[in-house]
């Protein structure tokens, strides 16, 4: 902003007090500006507090987890949940979370991207379009536990024959509904950012609307769409509240399970492991809760990182 100030010392301005206002005077004024400095100090304090929050969470979890992770790292990853602290692990949680992530991506990606394509490419400004937009925006704000209720009513009780009740299928479908609005919104933004010249060029060559979308719009918007979709998977992996309502088990024992039972039987997920351990007496189980938190955090951060790298690579490949 000093650039906008007249930079000619030879033409001094007269201030009301009769003092000559030069560039030097303005600069001194800035460093003497106590209120401004205090304000900036407060802003920096806010940033520092936010940073301290991040560090405090990560360090607390790491310190609490150190004991369990250093003494029984592989056992912790490989063992089922157990009432014996020395043998309790999160293998069932890892399995559940991976299956849930798979179901979410199979169900939510195509529907979410399709809905975004419809809203951005096909829909004209009709009542129906506006209804869809409003419902998407409101669904994004519905608390996650309400989706749990939906899953309980529809998937666990309504479709018990297919999902097998409280199962990993029910949980995956519930979380797919939960992340659907997020995918629609991010994919819409990515598609909206595609310049219309790209579409017009393809139309000019005689392509149908679907050909334009399939060969021009979707490939060009792919970095943004995939980033949003992958981040929504991270979100789904961290959610515990809907799983609690859908009926994730704190402990379950498996004898021999057939192939279908693995999908339709009792299940748990990593965030459920954290919640279960955290609800148990802290003097024995705090280390396990922290260690399970570390596993969740590593998984979520790894997915976020993968999204960032993928976006960078895809953007580079498209030369934009």
């Amino acid at each position: 902003m000093t650039a906008t100030t007249p930079d000619t010392p030879k033409s001094p301005l007269k201030t009301g007090a009769g003092k000559r206002l030069t560039l030097d005077a303005l600069k001194r004024d800035r460093s003497d500006d106590l209120t401004g400095q205090v304000f900036l100090g407060l802003l920096l304090l806010a940033v520092a507090i936010a940073g301290a929050m991040v560090l405090a969470v990560l360090i607390t979890v790491a310190i609490d987890a150190a004991d369990v992770l250093s003494t029984q790292f592989w056992d912790f990853l490989n063992n089922k949940s157990s009432s014996d602290p020395a043998r309790a692990g999160v293998a069932q949680g890892i399995r559940g979370s991976i299956l849930i992530a798979g179901i979410v991506s199979i169900v939510a990606f195509p529907v979410g991207i399709g809905a975004a394509v419809y809203l951005e490419e096909y829909a004209s400004d009709t009542k129906l379009t506006r209804l869809i937009e409003v419902t998407v925006r409101n669904l994004a704000g519905v608390p996650s536990i309400v989706y749990g209720l939906l899953g309980l009513a529809v998937f666990v009780q309504g479709l018990r024959g297919i999902t097998g009740g409280s199962s990993v299928i029910s949980a995956g479908l519930t979380l797919a509904l939960l992340v659907l609005p997020i995918i629609i919104i991010t994919a819409s933004e990515a598609i909206r950012a595609i310049p219309s010249t790209l579409r017009e060029g393809a139309y000019g060559l005689g392509a149908t609307q679907w050909e334009v979308i399939r060969t021009q719009v979707l490939p060009a918007a792919m970095p943004g769409i995939l980033t949003g979709a992958v981040l929504s998977i991270a979100r789904a992996l961290g959610e515990a509240a809907p799983l609690l309502v859908v009926g994730a088990a704190a402990f379950y024992s498996t004898g021999f399970q057939g192939q279908l039972d693995q999908l339709q039987g009792a299940f748990t997920a990593l965030p459920m492991n954290v919640a279960t351990f955290a609800k148990l007496p802290a003097d024995v189980w705090a280390g396990h809760a922290a260690a399970a938190s570390v596993v969740v955090l590593v998984l979520v951060f790894a997915i976020n990182l993968a999204a960032i790298i993928m976006r960078a690579r895809l953007t580079k490949k498209l030369g934009r």
């Binding site: 902003m1 890892i94 299956l99 394509v117 419902t135 536990i145 955290a278 938190s293």
Partner: protein
């Protein structure tokens, strides 16, 4: 009778090289499958390494078949045609189906060989199919790498069409392209309607079950004002839950609003691009921490290490579980929401407003607070409202750290344990099966869900209305 423009068929060496690449690809996929298998099926549960050679035998047969097919005139032609994208592409669904079968086979093979885990094989098959269906022309990058996309069905279908020189009529809309276009439009519309469908499902399910709660014979309206929230003893005092929710939300906003707005103003007005590259990921990291982890953080750090020593100064005795501790945890969760929405709102304020302010001699702080902040006020208030809505709906932090389990007595003191709407729902939900049998306690879950849904919906509509009503169009 080959057309002149047809490229020469690949040499046997390049074909051999491609086959080698495909076998290497198969190895990589096998290892990946083994890793997934290890975690999904559990370590060596139904995990059997002794059949690993089956995959190789089938793979070798597959490659042999490819090689033989490539020796026939039609085969060599098609092999090359797909590898080079000369001429018009094959029909979209032909390619998709062909790739599905081929690639699904490639992945499902080691799964079947190792574990006979059919469910997993089917799941992998579907994932791979979707991956490929979304790539342009259904062609996966690794197919171009291997360069061997022979299709048995295509081998006897395409050459006749290809032998003709492209004519103007090829660019006309054939019935197939029109049908494809219409089909795509219908499918996208169905996908778009999914959000409406989900909304209707939520409304119908939650409100019909809530109505069952209200209209049940055991239900009386006085139950909603009985002291304490003990659903299994038919005490449904809403005031208990509302007080808890109000405390949690209030404390969360007291934490999140100053910190979040401070970060937003700093990022939008003060930070240069270098500082932004550090601060922005920090906020995003905070946003990606799952709420269960913050719940654990609240009972393992906020309560014992901050509230206990802090409270002892004022003579307050904090336990591990308190509304204050959970409220701070929810506040930490809300910081990134406030920060990112408010920052976007302030960055949307045009530069001219700031320059005019500087031109009048205003200081930077004055410009930020008296010019940019008011101009972005609609977005900033929307940020706060969205944070309130999130704080009301936040479940796991409160469930873990506020200390109310099955029931809670009325408690207006935030230094004591308490219960919120969401935590009460989580407690009911955690015991879903046992609750189901016991009278109307199960339906009270939906009654609370309906209340929560209405509250957050009103807040979201309100924030939308504020943004639309007070948005300054520049």
């Amino acid at each position: 009778m080959k057309p002149a423009w047809r490229p020469a068929p690949p040499s046997i060496w390049s074909r051999g090289f491609a086959a080698g690449l495909e076998v290497a690809l198969y190895l990589v996929i096998t290892i990946l499958v083994a890793v997934v298998e290890y975690f999904v099926a559990g370590p060596f549960q139904d995990f059997d390494l002794s059949n690993w050679w089956i995959g190789f035998i089938i793979m070798a047969a597959w490659q042999g078949w490819h090689w033989a097919a490539a020796q026939t005139p039609v085969g060599s032609y098609v092999d090359h045609y797909i590898a080079d994208t000369d001429g018009s592409p094959a029909c979209f669904w032909c390619v998709v189906v062909r790739q599905l079968s081929r690639f699904g086979f490639l992945i499902a093979l080691p799964v079947l060989a190792f574990s006979t885990n059919i469910a997993l094989a089917v799941a992998l098959f579907a994932v791979a199919g979707l991956l490929i269906a979304f790539l342009p022309d259904g062609r996966a990058p690794w197919d171009l790498l291997a360069g061997t996309v022979v299709s048995e069905s295509l081998a006897f279908e395409r050459p006749a069409a290809l032998a003709e020189i492209t004519k103007a009529s090829d660019f006309q809309l054939g019935p197939q392209r029109i049908a494809e276009n219409n089909r795509a439009r219908r499918m996208m519309l169905i996908a778009g309607l999914s959000s409406v469908f989900i909304s209707v499902l939520i409304l119908w399910n939650i409100f019909s079950e809530a109505w069952e709660f209200v209209s049940a014979s055991e239900f009386e309206w006085s139950l909603l004002t009985d002291i304490g929230w003990f659903p299994r003893r038919n005490k449904f005092d809403l005031a208990t839950l509302f007080v808890g929710t109000l405390w949690i939300t209030g404390i969360a906003i007291l934490v999140a609003a100053p910190v979040g707005l401070g970060v937003a103003i700093y990022l939008a007005e003060y930070a240069n691009s270098k500082v932004r590259t550090y601060v922005k990921p920090m906020i995003e990291t905070l946003a990606s921490i799952p709420s269960v982890v913050l719940g654990f953080f609240a009972i393992s750090f906020i309560s014992p290490d901050i509230l206990k020593p802090g409270g002892s100064i004022f003579g307050i005795d904090f336990g591990i579980f308190s509304l204050l501790s959970a409220g701070i945890g929810v506040g930490i969760l809300s910081v990134p929401i406030v920060a990112s929405i408010a920052e976007d709102a302030m960055r949307a304020v045009p530069k001219e407003l700031r320059e005019a302010s500087y031109g009048l001699g205003a200081r930077k702080a004055t410009t930020a607070l008296r010019v940019v902040f008011p101009a972005a006020l609609s977005g900033i208030s929307a940020a706060i409202i969205v944070a309130v809505s999130r704080a009301i709906g936040e479940t796991m932090v409160v469930f873990i750290a506020a200390g109310g389990s099955g029931g809670a007595i009325f408690e207006a003191n935030p230094t004591e344990p308490g219960q919120t709407i969401t935590a009460a729902m989580a407690s009911l939900g955690a015991g879903t099966d046992s609750v189901a049998g016991s009278g109307i306690a199960f339906q009270s879950l939906y009654f609370l869900g309906a209340l929560l849904f209405i509250m957050t919906l009103l807040l979201n509509v309100f924030s939308d209305a504020i943004v639309r009503r007070f948005r300054q169009v520049y």
